[in-house]
Each structure stands twice: as structure tokens, then as C-alpha cells.
């Protein structure tokens, strides 16, 4: 029961995190989720390199053109590849990345529950 409840909560929450309401922050939000390709492990938002500055301008332009967050990500992914996205896309390559931790969580829960049943 407890587990069920927890998972119910999680599924709701995961759905809600996908909703981005505040449009003023969209631009920064996008820049934070992009890797500055010529820097060492910095996001475009955090970097002040020429590349990052130009990219921020491009993001602004694209928002003005009416593109939404997802479209901008896929536009940049076409240009630079998945490497630029800090939020890995859920696809064939990343099934394990997203699901393995959750599987480990379930397995851990199963082990604990098993312990109680055997003891009883």
C-alpha cells in the first residue's frame, strides 16, 4: 500500500515538472539546459564565451519567432547533436539511463519487503 501511494505521488509529480508556466524565464531555462560546447562542463547560461553569447541570442530570436522550448532543443540538436542537451532525450540510447535507477529502486524495495515476509 505504502509503495503504491509513493508511486502514485511520483507519477503525478513527474507529470507536473514537465509543465513550465513562467514564460519570462523560458529563455534562461533553455540556456541552462544546454552545454556550452567549447567550454569544459559549463552550461550556455553560465558561460560567457563567444559561443555561449551567440547561442543565447539565437535562443532569444527563436522564441520571438514563436518556437517553443522543445522546438528549440530539437533545432539545436540537429545542428550540434545530442551532446548539447543536458537533459538527455528519452530514446533507444537512454532507456537504461532513465530506467535503471528506477529499477534499482524497485529491486531494493522488493528485497526489503521479501525480508519481512520471510521473517513472518
Amino acid at each position: 500500500m505504502r509503495l503504491l501511494k509513493i508511486f502514485f505521488m511520483i507519477s503525478i509529480i513527474l507529470n507536473f515538472t514537465l509543465l513550465k508556466a513562467d514564460e519570462i524565464k523560458t529563455e534562461n531555462q533553455i540556456a541552462k539546459n544546454l552545454r556550452c560546447l567549447i567550454c569544459q562542463g559549463q552550461s550556455v547560461y553560465d558561460s560567457d564565451s563567444e559561443f555561449a553569447l551567440s547561442l543565447k541570442l539565437v535562443i532569444k530570436d527563436k522564441i520571438n519567432e514563436g518556437m517553443n522550448e522543445k522546438q528549440i532543443y530539437s533545432f539545436l540538436e540537429q545542428k550540434y547533436g545530442e551532446w548539447i542537451l543536458y537533459d538527455p532525450i528519452f530514446n533507444r540510447n537512454t532507456y537504461f539511463l532513465w530506467l535503471l535507477p528506477l529499477l534499482i529502486f524497485l529491486a531494493g524495495g522488493a528485497i526489503i519487503i521479501k525480508k519481512f515476509y520471510i521473517k513472518k
Partner: protein
């Protein structure tokens, strides 16, 4: 029953050892790869469309149509403030002599005066120069910064050089053209 237990006892460590061994192999191979991003250099991508101002003729705009012929083109992103661009310049001057290829300059985040001064000083290898004042057009090309060059044939990017052109890449370009 006890046999089964014995089997289990032996299998678990073997599975774990194999598991770690695979991880070892993967790390071992991973060590040889570079951690600096090297994008796919041989790409058969279409040239992106653009409309940009030209450096010398004030009102003239240049579009992707300039690559629409049967010649080879080298599009070179450069800037007067970029130090490696100075190093690569002599190779571009050398390439200029080759008639099978046309070099287009892509002036990146520069001041027109400084750019002109730079070319006066070192020579102008470019047949056309476009201006990308804020660097946004370079993003359309999927470029990283200065210097960077794209080898184009029949509207397609056939090769791309990140960083300055040197003797080696010059030879390679000349080989491809032949």
C-alpha cells in the same frame, strides 16, 4: 536441495566478476577516446540558407546561392581578434592560388574597420566576405567559433575543419579538389 544451493553459491560471484570485467573493458576502451568534443567531420549536410551583408560592398547581401555552381568552396570563419586566425592566414593565401576553389570569408563578431585592417596587413584570400556581427548566423552552420572552415561542393558540406587550417589540412583539401 543442497546441490542447488552450492550451484547458486558459485554462480553469483562468477556473474559479478563477469559484470565488473565488462565494466573494466568499457572503461579501458573509453580511455582511448578523447574527452574533447569532436563532431562528425565528414558530413554530407546541405548548406544552410542565409542572407548576410558583405564586408566591402555596403548594401550588398550575400546568400547561400553563391555555392550553387560546380566549383569547390571553402567557407572560412575568421575574426581579426582571433590569434589562431593569423596563423592560418598564410595557408589560405596559398590556397587562393588554386583556381579550382573559391574561398568565402565569414567575418565573426568583428568590427569592420579592424577586419579591413587585418586584410590590408596580411592580404585578402577571399572572393567574398560576409559579416556575422552577433555570431547568430554561425550557429546555423553548427559552428563552434573561430577559426573554423567548411569545404563545400555542390551545395553540400563535404568536410569541416575545427580550429586553424594548417599544412596538413591544406594538403588534404588540395587532394580532395584534384
Amino acid at each position: 536441495m543442497s546441490q542447488k544451493k552450492e550451484m547458486k553459491f558459485k554462480f553469483t560471484p562468477i556473474i559479478i566478476v563477469v559484470f565488473f570485467f565488462i565494466i573494466f573493458i568499457i572503461f579501458f576502451t573509453g580511455l582511448k577516446n578523447s574527452n574533447i568534443y569532436t563532431p562528425n567531420i565528414n558530413i554530407e549536410k546541405k548548406v544552410p540558407s542565409f542572407t548576410l551583408n558583405s564586408l566591402y560592398a555596403d548594401k550588398e547581401t550575400v546568400t547561400e546561392k553563391i555555392f550553387d555552381d560546380n566549383k569547390f568552396h571553402l567557407m572560412n570563419i575568421w575574426s581579426s581578434w582571433c590569434i589562431p586566425c593569423r596563423e592560418e592566414h598564410e595557408f589560405l593565401m596559398e590556397l587562393k592560388i588554386n583556381e579550382k576553389i573559391q574561398i568565402t570569408g565569414f567575418n565573426y563578431k568583428d568590427k569592420t574597420n579592424n577586419a579591413k585592417k587585418f586584410l590590408d596587413e596580411l592580404g585578402n584570400p577571399y572572393t567574398k566576405i560576409v559579416i556575422d556581427g552577433d555570431g547568430t548566423a554561425s550557429i546555423d552552420w553548427g559552428a563552434y567559433g573561430v577559426p573554423e572552415s567548411f569545404l563545400i561542393y555542390q551545395n553540400k558540406i563535404i568536410k569541416r575543419y575545427i580550429g586553424p587550417i594548417n599544412g596538413k589540412s591544406l594538403m588534404e583539401i588540395e587532394k580532395i579538389i584534384e
